[in-house]
């Protein structure tokens, strides 16, 4: 089993590395996004991973801020997961840039306060630093080398850091949503619900990821704690999933009930367009109905809870794609689609093989980082 995993991973990594080489050597020649559908798989992956990170981080605050004893063992696992998914997110968006080596300009000459993207970058940089500091501190405290007053002081610092992290995580991921929300020319992004929808989605997908990792990778599967934690995590995921669905319903129904055609074209494309199955089959069926049923019927069976969470995590990329793509496939002026012909001016999009390969590379890298982290930091097998 392990061997199969290693082989699969190596294949994914090597193929992925080829895609990365193509991007670095040839720029954007092999991508399928264009000047109309300007953002594609990589941007969807970015908001997907960064949501996972924010969600995992917010779950860690149950341990480090609210001191919930039951989740104590999950604290470091949640922090490392947040860190790795953040790295994956930053890589995804870095590959998306037309001039990758100019990324530092977002730090040297940020367009503040007007650019929501600049805000988001500065906020996630602050979040990255805080997350790094918090993780190091959490491991130092658990190393057993600190005692007495020093230990208490460090624990206090950790709690403060984690507390600051909550508004920061909300701000930076809300900022990711606001980046889309403030685009007034795009009716399906331009909604006050967008940042909230991003945040709830982040909590949902991040908690589901941790539940999945906990259920399947936790070493001690026989303890009562294991069953209890997986039940509680499953409950958190279920409640967030239902709330997320409510927000989605609110957004879609309010926009579409009597909405003018130009304002609802994107949503119509999402529901009945070329990629209707991403919404109905991947998201609604596999990402909502099946997990909800499992959570309701098999909530005490860890493996089922894990499976339902896995479904939520995997299908959530579809949710993220459905934010990015349908907002871009409708012409801003009627007739634009046929005004000038070029494959870069099409109002349709399917990721190219290179885009998938780079995506594969990022996922493979994330898995490798987690594997190494787990091996050396004993994330799923804490000795205490």
């Amino acid at each position: 089993m392990k061997k199969v995993f290693y082989v699969l991973w190596a294949v994914a990594f090597l193929f992925g590395a080829f895609g990365v080489y193509q991007k670095l050597a040839y720029g954007d020649l092999f991508v399928n996004f264009g000047s109309r559908v300007v953002w594609g798989l990589w941007v969807a992956m970015y908001i997907y991973f960064i949501g996972l990170s924010a969600g995992a981080f917010l779950l860690s605050s149950l341990v480090y801020v609210f001191k919930m004893k039951i989740f104590e063992k999950l604290g470091k696992l949640a922090l490392i997961t947040a860190l790795i998914t953040l790295i994956c997110a930053l890589l995804s968006i870095w590959f998306d840039l037309g001039h990758q080596w100019r990324f530092f300009e977002v730090f040297t000459t940020p367009n503040l306060p007007s650019s929501m993207m600049a805000w988001m970058i500065w906020l996630y940089t602050a979040y990255f630093l805080l997350l790094l500091g918090e993780t190091l501190l959490a491991f130092r405290i658990d190393s057993g080398k600190l005692t007495g007053a020093k230990l208490v002081r460090k624990q206090r610092t950790l709690q403060i850091l984690a507390s600051v992290g909550i508004p920061l995580a909300i701000a930076f991921h809300g900022g990711v949503g606001a980046l889309f929300g403030v685009v007034a020319s795009n009716p399906i992004w331009h909604s006050a619900l967008t940042p909230i929808y991003f945040l709830v989605g982040a909590i949902l997908s991040g908690c589901a990821l941790l539940t999945m990792i906990f259920v399947f990778l936790w070493k001690d599967k026989t303890s009562e704690d294991y069953r209890q934690i997986s039940f509680l995590l499953g409950r958190i995921v279920l409640v967030t999933l239902l709330f997320d669905l409510l927000l989605e319903w609110s957004e879609l129904s309010i926009s579409m009930w009597l909405g003018s055609s130009t304002h609802t074209l994107g949503f119509k494309e999402m529901l009945y367009g070329h990629y209707w199955y991403v919404f109905w089959i991947i998201h609604i069926l596999l990402g909502v109905i099946v997990p909800v049923v499992i959570f309701l019927v098999k909530s005490r069976k860890p493996y089922w809870v894990g499976l339902a969470s896995l479904l939520v995590v995997f299908t959530f990329l579809g949710v993220r794609l459905n934010i990015v793509i349908p907002g871009l496939v409708t012409p801003k002026i009627a007739g634009m689609a046929s005004a000038f012909f070029s494959k870069r001016l099409l109002y349709s999009y399917t990721p190219s093989s290179q885009e998938w390969l780079v995506g594969l590379f990022i996922v493979a890298l994330g898995i490798a980082l987690f594997y190494i982290g787990d091996k050396y930091l004993k994330l799923t097998n804490p000795h205490n």
Binding site: D28, G98, V106, S114, K343, L345
Partner: protein
Amino acid sequence: MENKKKNKEENRRKFLKSTGTLALGGLALSAFISESLVAKPKSAPGKVMEFTSVEDLLSGPYESAKLRMQDEVRRSLKKPIEKRKWGMAIDIRKCIGCNACTVACIAENVLPPGVVYRPVIKKEVGSYPNVSLINLPRPCMQCEDPPCVPVCPVGATFIRKDGIIEINYDHCIGCRYCLTACPYGARVFDFGEYYTDNTPQVMAYESRPSFEYGKKWPRKKGDSPIGNARKCTFCEHRLADGLLPQCVTTCIGGANYFGDLNEPDHLINKVINRDNVTILKEEEGTSPKVFYLR
């Protein structure tokens, strides 16, 4: 009886005489008016020109409206840059949808595949058999309140003092946020492609430099403007030399007007200060500096 006849005769004569004088006076007056209105340099001295076309009305003392506008551009260039405000008007009644402007723009700015600054949107209105075709050239609107500028994370795009929205190619990181923000789809991304890709040789004419923003931009792999957001610049490199934007120069129907919106006497202001003027997507609140006449 005889007296009556005589009187009648006299009256007629008087009448003819007075009307004759009036008619002659009228002729002289009209000649005077037309002489004062019609441009002098147009014809040989002493020869009275007649109004023959709208073009004559628009050209003022010049041979054509385009030469008038060019002269107006040159006069505006003598002012400090912050006193200029370039604007364009497109008469969609005159546009025949030939795409000459689209192509001339591509040639002028050496635009690669997928990069187009001025597509002509063709829109069919009505239902068969009562249909007509509207041609709508769509350059960058050079908005007074552009949504593309504030979104840029690094401030690589900005409003110049003369109102043109510039992109600093050396600064742009290629995130394409501005492309999503523009309500007109006026911004495009340069993917680094060539029309002669997949042929035995990429032709040299595709690698020659463009002269946007007063700089030479040869097309080289990985170098700007490849990997950048791009858009219509109102041909500011031509303006700097006192030339009209290429689309205005090339338009066979003379459907484009260009000039300084700060100069009330410029032709552009004569044509846009009328009730047949419209702008695209007024509801966006962007205040475009491109106007449409209909």
